[in-house]
Symmetry: C2
Subunit: 193 residues, 2 copies
């Protein structure tokens, strides 16, 4: 038996395809409707207007990006015991590949859109608060696995990494921070003596 796909889900899938094709600015509700084989009226029934549709789709994607970040970080440390501060530093994400930088650029676009789309902003606030709680739970798990004498400073995550925007680094060309520099620095700043 095939799972029933609702028209709401079809609209959301079509909106993502359109976003990949045209970007946020170029997204046309008519094209989303066409891709979902539904009417524009139908889209408005579910999402109110174009901003409401964007709030939902971009919010969903932002939720996925931020969930993936903590999951990837924890997965890198999961089956280890006697964790060191170095292990934790090296498990941090530091985007360098073109596809990783594309995601960073898209995150920047979502954030910028949220400055002019109140519903998206409200959604990002909910996600951010929820994500902060997930990070705290992850730290509790890490704490129980640290090797004797190895202690890290949680504030580095809270104050620094939570506000880290690697897109800036990509603007620095030859002068940009390298992955090696980033990891050495993070290990040093994470370590509590």
């Amino acid at each position: 038996m095939l799972a029933q796909v609702t028209s709401e889900e079809l609209i959301l899938q079509s909106a993502r395809q359109e976003l990949a094709r045209t970007g946020i600015l170029g997204l046309r509700v008519a094209s989303v409707a066409e891709g979902a084989h539904c009417s524009i009226t139908n889209i408005y029934r579910y999402f109110g207007d174009r901003d409401g549709l964007l709030a939902r789709v971009l919010g969903d994607m932002y939720e996925e990006f931020t969930a993936a970040a903590v999951a990837t970080f924890m997965a890198r440390l999961n089956d280890r015991k006697n964790l060191t501060v170095r292990d934790i530093a090296r498990a941090l994400p530091f985007p360098t590949t073109e596809s990783e930088m594309k995601i960073q650029a898209f995150r920047m676009q979502i954030l910028a859109t949220s400055t002019e789309n109140q519903r998206l902003c409200d959604r990002l606030k909910k996600i951010s608060t929820m994500r902060a709680t997930v990070w705290q739970e992850s730290f509790a798990e890490l704490d129980s696995k640290m090797a004797p004498g190895e202690r890290y400073d949680r504030r580095v995550f809270r104050v620094m990494l939570a506000n880290f925007a690697p897109y800036y680094n990509s603007l620095l060309g030859d002068m940009q921070v390298t992955a090696e520099e980033f990891y050495e620095f993070m290990e040093d700043k994470l370590r509590l003596k």
Copy 2:
């Protein structure tokens, strides 16, 4: 004798007024022309197209924001001698007021625009490289003024603060990093022992 204002300058002034009124997405070249008392053709002659106009105006503003950041930081330390690491930490910008957060949101919009406007991206790259050099010169000046035994870690600026996006923090509501937490953390991480 009054200074001669070129039509290019009038267009740039009008574009800034329009940006303040409508935001980046809403900017219409026709309105900029109206405000500058010139023709749309005239704007295209100077800037090529709407993206070219945005690349110039947003680039100029980004240059001003980043210049102001280093100038404000240095001005806070300028007439002091025997600088401590604490002085340096406390001179860092940490936006909290509504008007400061508005500038942060606008910076985010400029960065997002640069992901789809190659000329703006090229301009931001030039500005970022130039600004990194100005920061290095400022550090040389600070180094000559440090109190005996007080040493700070330049990498904190290069790796962390250069990639710092306080807009994220504004999404955290009650959970956000406070100014006091930020300054204590920065003092701790800046200090070289």
